[in-house]
Amino acid sequence: MFGRYEYPCRFDEGDVMFCIEQDGALYRYRRSCGESGADMTLTLADADLYVHPIEPVHLPREVTRFLEIEFPSVTLAPESDTTIYLTFPLEVGIIMGYKNEHELLDVFSKATPKYSLYGTPESGVITRYWRSIISDRLPDTDNGVDGILRLRLTNAGKSWVDVGRVVLDATFMPIYFGPFVSMTAEMLVYSRDLAETHVLSEPIIGGMQEAIQVITSSRLRLISAEAKGFLMEHGVK
């Protein structure tokens, strides 16, 4: 599904269909995914058409830039580290590219969106919520529903800690696609109440292609969000 498309084009697989048809000097974009759909008229000129996995915080409306993944908790020994594999929800972006400018045309997903609150109403953040399985190896995923997150967990503290959730900032969220969709992140746990997370520019396997970062490319190009990460101040379980 993912990649660069020449238009007119058509993709039809399972319950996902999208197409761009020429209508005189104009183009017509149509899309259906489950019960949702889109229909719009475009003047494409020489724009490029990309279908990429994008940061999963756009549906049904963009209300946050944080992704929270809850998983069966892992107990970390003091000053130890481990790598686990989780899943994250997929959102598919139809993106128009023209002279290095990218515009998100449409978003759809087969994953059911759900939101949550990490922390308190006063000082917490709204998050896109996802419940994941946990695995020590690459789990099986459905390329239209979920991707694989490789999470490196490091317990920097001197006590045992149970970790059962991770919150990632979508401001810098490189997602890669190939045989599956993937993302890599690290989580430095300082205590049961405090941790720091960063999404890394690392594909899980070689040969994967980096997807266009819609949020970064459209709004925050000048901010170094990679270094910023997210500080989880309201607990890790």
Partner: protein, 287 residues
Amino acid sequence: MTVAVEFLNEVVFGNIRVADLIVFFVIISASIIVARIIGAHIKKSLTDRVKKDELEKLIRIVQVIIVLIGIFIGLPSFHVDFAELLLIGGAASIIIGFASQRLVTSIGSGVFLIVERPVTIGDTVKIGETSGTIEDIRILSTTIKTFEGIYVRIPNETVFNSEITNYVANVARRFEYRVGIRYSDDAEKAIRIIRELLEAHPFVLKNPSPSIYVDELGVNAVIIMVRIWAPSREWWSVRTEMLLKIKTALESEGMTIPFPQRTVWIKETPGSAPAPVLHPDVSDKHP
């Protein structure tokens, strides 16, 4: 040299010499330079917080005050009698002060609102008796678009002294429904149906999780309390959407919202005439 001294001592007007004029203009020039430097600093620090035109007004006010101070410092070179000036200035200040009391209070309140930021543009708020969305915060006034789409301008003094309720200051908020079902309906099943509906809605927050329980055994109905947390900026759409969905889902399972009703027991005593049987009047039926 002598020529220069003579020039400086040359009387221009009354007892004002050229030297006095030079000293005065140096002080004024210095105050203008200081005013510009401070203006630039204000611009740098408040650009993100204050609208451009408002910021320019604020800078202009500060700069005028600095230049007035410069004039006040430079005036002795003109041999001005300060006692007289203070008397006139004092009297003028009192008059101006009384005349512009509310204006100055509003400006002060506006500055506090900009710095303290209890509300920001786009927030849904209630200020005093006015509810709506903040459209603009200016130095003198705050404008609100009410939910009816009416433009309301509130002086900042009033905003500052009023009770302010900001509905979106916290990222999430809770709301509740009281859903009544008949005594003959299965309350556990109703709770299960409502819970499934809430779980399926994206903006009904996973955490804090919704709370659904039988709250009251009412006169006409079993009251089920439904408490929901939603993102503050989405809560109204969730609230309006979910109530209809709950009603529809319960009705599709044969549960109806009961009407007020009363069971009347008529006691028949031996030997008395039987109570008349009441039949509904068909003419009262609606078409």
